[in-house]
Symmetry: C2
Subunit: 120 residues, 2 copies
Amino acid sequence: MFKTTSQYRTESTEGRYGGKGVAVVSHVMEKTELLANCRLFARIRLDPGCSIGWHTHDQEEEVYYILSGEAVVNDDGVIRTVYPGDSVYTGNGGSHSIENQGSEPMEFLGVILTYQPPER
Amino acid sequence: MFKTTSQYRTESTEGRYGGKGVAVVSHVMEKTELLANCRLFARIRLDPGCSIGWHTHDQEEEVYYILSGEAVVNDDGVIRTVYPGDSVYTGNGGSHSIENQGSEPMEFLGVILTYQPPER
């Protein structure tokens, strides 16, 4: 199954997990399109000043893969600036947040793999 | 856990699944670093003329997400050229191949989600 950007369902979520501004979530794959234990496979855009707040991944793990721009990530208390090609793993009860403190939009892939079948 | 490109284990695989030339596989996440059912989370580079041959995904599914350049993908007999931001889903017994027929290197993320725990 082929998809292009125009075919990704895109939603603008405000104050995601208490974050600032808007996170624009484009669903590369819907969880209903996947048979595996995966509840999010999305490209997420944060414009300057926008963030996704601190939240915990119990019984699941998320991989961030940075596509463009830069962001400050707090991964379980360790804070770093991430750039295109970088990745962050947070899972098994770990927590994280991500904020665009730069001057350009930034995008990353967020893939959440669950340890049991997700609700579909 | 933060990672940058220099920390990804990178291997050059020749004639992958009968393909042409070399596929350079950078493991963004090792399967041993993931608790979920995932046996590949990698960035793969195909230089011009290089390809990954036709192969089948039984009891698993793979998502390609195109990062840069362009490639020709055969997904279960449907052949298309893919560009950055595009994705391809192949799974549950489906087959695919990918070839760089362009003049620039191309890169994509390949994520293989398995329906049972993978061998680790």
